[in-house]
Amino acid sequence: MIHRDKPCYTLKITQQTQLSSFSLEVDLALPASGFTVLFGPSGCGKTTLLRCIAGLHHPVNGVIKVNGATWQDKTTRLKAHQRDLGYVFQEPSLFDHLDVTANLLYGYKRATSKGRLTLEHIAQLLGIEHLLTRKTAHLSGGEKQRVAIGRALLSNPKLLLMDEPLSALDHKTKNEVLPYLERLPKELSIPIIYVTHALSEVERLADHLVIIEKGRVIAEGDVHELMLDLDGPLSHFNQAGALVDAIVTGYDSDYSLTELTIDGGILHMPTSIAPIGSHRRIRIGASHVSLSLTAPTDSSIINCLAATVIAIKAECEAMCIVRLQLGETSEILARITKWSKDHLGLQEGLAVYAQIKGASLIKQ
């Protein structure tokens, strides 16, 4: 039984890598559901960590417990095929001698226990029903990767591991596969550990974020929190921003504007992004947020939300970043000049209006 949001499996790994000069030393207890993203630069050890969890790479020392089952400790060391996991590689790695259905059923036939997911269910979930009788050689890159995800899920894993599953795909194909990934946590009751070096994938998918550098965890926690942390490692990325969870609540077809309800107000963004009622995560870039002391009435900026300043941090000589509270729990960031900060007399606790340009909310 997996309880949502309760860490019920632990992951503890100590390991020497032969490739590089540093050693991978990690001690993690991860949530039992949703996307846990391992994020870091190439060569930081995140893929090695994933391979250790899968049993494809053997750490010198390590403890891996998943949902009460010990995969590895001082006395036990299960082989990869004895671990109830699904693994999606960077390249789809389908078996070319089998057709799509046979690929999907490869792990299903060998699963230690049958789950509730069937071939039909998975094919529908990943939009691959029309491909079932095809040869793998005749699939596009995005289709192959979706089949690979389905194949992993049909083996009824207790844990799904994904190693940069989008990095070998071009921009267009990435956007074709991403919505299927976003849907996974709602359809599955298992945790997903996802490795990437792309911040855009972190923003779109992560629930829990683990940032790795040179084999060490340098930050770990809820993704919203880490994005807002003005001193944290993500603040070094030049595009500071905040993630806000939204529900699509309307669509104005005259102007082609989607209405999103978030904690703390309503946002409008151009084009129809999703059906009404669906959940979307919106990234609000700090550079696209401007502040004023009174509610502007004659601005081209369509989004204006009441906010409270909770922190101000100097970014460089000219710029600073303001952390703002919206509604009950949501927070966003605004990047403004120091001149504006002094001109408006911004300080912690001050009530302001945050203006967000609708055009900036469109996904690139």
Binding site: K79, H81, F95, A137, S155
Partner: protein, 222 residues
């Protein structure tokens, strides 16, 4: 002549079967991690390609003779002498054709790489399971080429056979030796029949092989 044809085919089938059973696991072992020991074994396996068949035949004759401990033990175990018999021919052929089986199979195993095996392992397939369900089907073209090359090569073998088998009709006189015999006794007509038959057979086999590898390429299985 029919005796010689039958004997050649029997030898080729036996050798190919034994080499499928021995050569495929050996090729698999050689295709895994590089190590010094493996390199030595790989070089030994390749040796019959470059050695004169008479050299190989000469040493095999000495090794398999009843005066030698190994030959003695082996002939006791197999229930009969090994020199100038069909069993001896099979042993010689197996060793002589070893590279023809091991090289293409090893190459196709190496071409598979480790990724499909890792994928199979994460889908609960044990190493033995994935060898049969992933490795062998993926290496199909290499296996077909290896088996065919072994078969044809064994049919055309001369030097080793002559050294350890001699020229006993119905026992060790295979096609290539029969041709030699007919030429020696100036029976050109009969020599022609066998020789031309072998040329045609070898040509057809090579044509078939090129079709196999073409088909394999078209299906993107490489």
């Amino acid at each position: 002549m029919t005796d010689a044809i039958f004997l050649s085919l029997q030898l080729a089938f036996t050798t190919t079967s034994i080499l499928l059973a021995l050569g495929v696991p050996l090729a698999w072992w050689l295709s895994r991690k590089q190590s010094f020991v493996r390199e030595i074994i790989a070089a030994l396996v390749t040796l019959p390609l470059v050695l004169p068949p008479t050299v190989l035949g000469f040493y095999l004759l000495l090794l398999l003779s009843p005066n030698n401990t190994l030959g003695h033990t082996l002939s006791d175990w197999l229930g009969g002498p090994l020199t100038f018999t069909f069993s001896g021919l099979v042993i010689g052929s197996v060793i002589f054709s070893l590279p023809f089986m091991v090289q293409p199979v090893r190459a196709s195993f190496e071409a598979i790489g480790s990724r499909p095996l890792e994928a199979a392992a994460t889908l609960r397939a044990s190493p033995i399971d994935s060898f049969f369900s992933v490795v062998l089907p993926m290496a199909k073209s290499g296996l077909i080429i290896g088996a065919t090359m072994t078969f044809v090569h064994t049919l055309g073998e001369f030097g080793v056979v002559l050294m350890i088998g001699g020229n006993i009709p119905g026992e060790t006189q295979v096609l290539s030796i029969a041709i030699y015999n007919y030429v020696e006794t100036l029976e050109w007509q009969k020599a022609h029949q066998i020789a031309a038959g072998m040329v045609i057979f070898a040509f057809l086999v090579m044509l078939l092989l090129s079709q196999v590898s073409k088909r394999q390429l078209r299906h993107g299985a490489l």
